[in-house]
């Protein structure tokens, strides 16, 4: 299972929301969103509405996977 951690601050809430809409499971570990999936986690940047500075600094941690895309279009984390 792949887990993506995102800090729960106002700028980041849409990142978790869009991940959930795309099929990932979103839980919490302390003040972090824990976004998990058995497959790839894909988040569309434009759907999040995040400006670039927020988008490129929104990832707090990645477990059991690796980032294969993090650009102006999308963030994708694939299982390791």
């Amino acid at each position: 299972m792949t887990a993506l951690y995102v800090l729960d601050v106002p700028e980041n809430t849409t990142v978790a929301k869009v991940a959930a809409e795309a099929g990932a499971t979103v839980g919490k570990v302390g003040p972090y969103f824990e976004i998990t999936s058995d497959g790839s986690i894909v988040i569309d940047r434009r759907a999040t509405g995040c400006r670039h500075a927020v988008w490129y600094s929104c990832i707090a941690g990645v477990a059991g996977g690796r980032i294969v895309q993090h650009d102006k279009n999308a963030l994708q984390v694939d299982p390791a």
């Binding site: 951690y5 800090l7 601050v9 707090a60 941690g61």
Partner: protein
Amino acid sequence: MALEHKVRGVDHAAFPTFDPAGTVRFYRDVLGFPVVHSICAAGWGPENHPDFIHFFFDIGNDDRIAFFYYFGLEPQHTHERGDAYAGFGPEVPEFFVRSRHLAIHVDDEADLLEYRRRLDESTWPVEMQIQHETIESIYTHDPNGYMVEFTRAMRPVTPQEDLDANLTIDALLDVVAEPDPSFGKLLARKAELIVERAADWEAAQV
């Protein structure tokens, strides 16, 4: 046990200048920073130290920016890029040259735009205005080539951001202690620290 935190901000940050007239125009006349201190010193000591003026501007909060003007001293490098202190050749990337700068805090957007107005009416207009993650900043270079930023918080910092910062630093120390540190390794180590500590941290926040 944390060490007691007793310091009280920046007393002064000091920089050399070869253009004292431009420096006074920029900080005192354009920005309105009061001159709060100066030292006129004759050179002495074994290193053939030149005579100099050491002068200070208030940057708010009783903190100060200070300059050294040395009589008779020529610029210490001939690079076109960089500032009065350090020069850089074309092989040095711009992000690196810009990494060292002074950021001065303002309370809100109105104050940020007031300093933008003062700079835009001067010889040193604002070069960039950027919303970062949680702060908004304007940038220019002073007459000495030093990059100066004015910045305001777009919202208060939350307690969880302090936790996150500390987990980042602990993860960073772990990955730089091993060969070939990378962003991916940092995020993997930080994920482990989040799982270990974040729930307990939240439980302790009452």
